[in-house]
């Protein structure tokens, strides 16, 4: 519909209260983004009780990059991603996402930040009481997209992850690999500026894993910044992409995949 972009703009503007959120939107608008850092960690530390989850992590990711974070279980990969979508706050250091300081971001502005980040959760976090279509559509509904556009975009995205034919099924009836792909579909359906994937190929067969990697690369080719946390070295071998290594909360260097 001709008025769809205006509706979205109105919807977003409704939630905008501060200039920094306007900057966030400008940064998230894809192609118009000025060259700069999408994610910037500066000496970031995070502690759980007395345990150190991350210690003085410093790195940055440019717009349009596809970066892998690797390390053994418990090395802090998930914590690092959670910091980016503000599920948790950093205890020390400075963290900026889309030129927005997450150290000072108000709680009421967190939903706006998250609407520009697509997350593939390790445990999928699908809504079991809703069918596949509704699960993917949910990411658009919270953004105030109109029904017609939702229908078009959801079916397009389900086609990308090759699950168009299962749109009426419910998550518990799908295999782990299929649920993972639904989680990916939900993360990408709203064209977010950043996609975070937490072990997207964990516990799934190699063919499905290869499919998810291929989709991620395709999305990245369209200019979306992607950060994938994985302990599966096969996923980034010979990709030529940056790989950040974590070792029990410490930054352990960077290599090319």
């Amino acid at each position: 519909m001709w008025h769809a972009p205006f509706r979205r703009l109105w919807h977003d503007a409704n939630d905008l209260k501060f200039p920094q959120m306007r900057r966030l939107l400008a940064a998230a608008s894809g192609a118009d983004l000025a060259p700069g850092k999408m994610i910037q960690f500066q000496d970031v530390s995070k502690y759980y009780d007395n345990q150190t989850a991350l210690r003085k992590i410093t790195f940055s990711i440019e717009k349009g990059e596809l970066v892998f974070i690797t390390g053994p279980s418990g090395s802090g990969k998930s914590t690092l991603l959670k910091l980016i979508y503000r599920a948790i706050r950093p205890d020390e250091g400075s963290l900026r996402v889309m030129d927005l300081s997450l150290n000072t971001l108000r709680e009421s502005d967190v939903p706006q930040l998250r609407r520009h980040i697509g997350v593939v959760f390790q445990d999928f976090r699908l809504l079991d009481n809703r069918n596949i279509f509704e699960n993917v559509a949910f990411a658009l509904r919270i953004r105030g997209v109109d029904e017609k556009e939702i229908k078009t975009k959801v079916f397009e995205t389900l086609k990308i992850v090759n699950l168009r034919h299962k749109s009426d099924n419910y998550p518990p009836t799908l295999s782990g690999g299929e649920q993972q792909r639904i989680s990916l579909a939900r993360a990408i359906v709203a064209d977010p500026a950043i996609i975070l994937a937490d072990e997207p190929t964990g516990n799934i067969d190699p063919d499905t894993a290869a499919g998810i990697t291929r989709i991620s690369k395709d999305i990245n080719a369209r200019g979306t910044t992607i950060l994938i946390a994985t302990h599966n070295r096969e996923l980034f071998r010979n990709t030529g992409r940056r790989v950040l290594k974590l070792d029990f909360g410490n930054f352990a260097g960077e290599e090319a995949g």
């Binding site: 998250r114 997350v119 959760f121 976090r125 009481n129 990411a139 919270i142 105030g144």
Partner: protein, 291 residues
């Protein structure tokens, strides 16, 4: 935020948690029905006691020294009042005659009185639609400053008893309504809180995906409204059923029951009260939940 989508979420939630909803709704309907029946009772008793008997009148006894001008001034002042229907001047001779006819065979007891001891008097009759205790008391106040009046008599005790009864009934009715409303609010509050905690994981996912507090809260507010409104409709059905039973079915056997009035406003008031209670309960619940 899309309102139709919030309605859809509400509907889904109602179907999923139908037993919790049903229980809350029935509790609210019982509470509202009890309150409505109490208020109906109060309303009917209040209406019955609002009107004093049509024969009710005020007697103004005049001083022996009262002049004709003073008497006429009293009559004029009384007739000026909008609640007064008419006044009757009773000369002392007529009063004695009437007393004798009332005493009939015992009239001999008046024989030793000599001079007529009764004073001239004025009887004030009121318009039947205006015979209310408050109005009569106000009228009595207007007589205070008039000259020539020896005494007035208007059944003060009777009036104050009616007053006390009405005031007591209103207080009881209001107390019951307030206590029951607080109870029903608590039911709604608890139900919405339970529903919220049952969906905690789902709500956590909503938040992680970027849902605003408004988006998350609206369905709960609507759920509270639905519980309250549906409870109100149920309660209206209960009250109307009871009214029908009393007035139509039992009214033929006990004609007094046919005098029970049912204010038509209750038809909209009961469901709207339920709606208000439901929404307030939900608002309090979602306002107190930290998320």
């Amino acid at each position: 935020m899309s309102l139709p989508y919030s309605f859809k979420l509400t509907l889904q939630s109602i179907l999923r948690e139908r037993w919790i909803y049903l229980l809350s709704m029935l509790t609210i309907s019982s509470g509202l029905a009890f309150t409505a029946i109490t208020l109906l009772l109060v309303y009917n008793i209040d209406s019955a006691t609002r009107k004093l008997p049509e024969k009710f009148s005020v007697m103004i006894y005049l001083k022996d020294t009262a002049t004709e001008d003073e008497r006429n001034a009293i009559i004029a002042a009384a007739q000026k009042d909008r609640i007064v229907a008419h006044t009757i001047f009773i000369p002392k001779e007529q009063a004695l005659k009437e007393l004798k006819s009332t005493l009939k065979d015992s009239a001999f007891i008046l024989e030793g009185l000599g001079d007529n001891p009764l004073p001239d008097s004025i009887e004030v009759r009121f318009k039947s639609e205006s015979v209310e205790p408050e109005a009569v008391q106000r009228f009595m106040g207007t007589l205070k400053d008039l000259k020539g009046i020896q005494e007035t008599e208007y059944g003060e005790q009777f009036l104050s008893a009616v007053h006390s009864l009405r005031r007591g009934l209103r207080t009881v009715g209001l107390t019951i309504a307030i206590v029951m409303s607080i109870g029903m609010l608590f039911v709604c509050y608890s139900t919405v809180k339970i529903l919220f905690y049952r969906k905690e994981e789902e709500i956590e996912t909503y938040k992680l995906l970027g849902a605003t507090r408004g988006f998350i809260r609206l369905p709960f507010l609507l759920e509270g409204a639905v519980i309250g409104f549906a409870g109100g409709l149920f309660s209206l059905a209960e009250v109307l059923g009871l009214y029908y039973l009393l007035v139509v079915s039992l009214g033929t056997t006990f004609p007094l029951l046919r005098l029970i009035a049912f204010p038509i406003d209750l038809v909209s008031l009961i469901p709207l009260s339920g709606l208000l209670i439901g929404m307030t309960g939900a608002l309090l619940a979602i306002g107190r939940i930290k998320y």
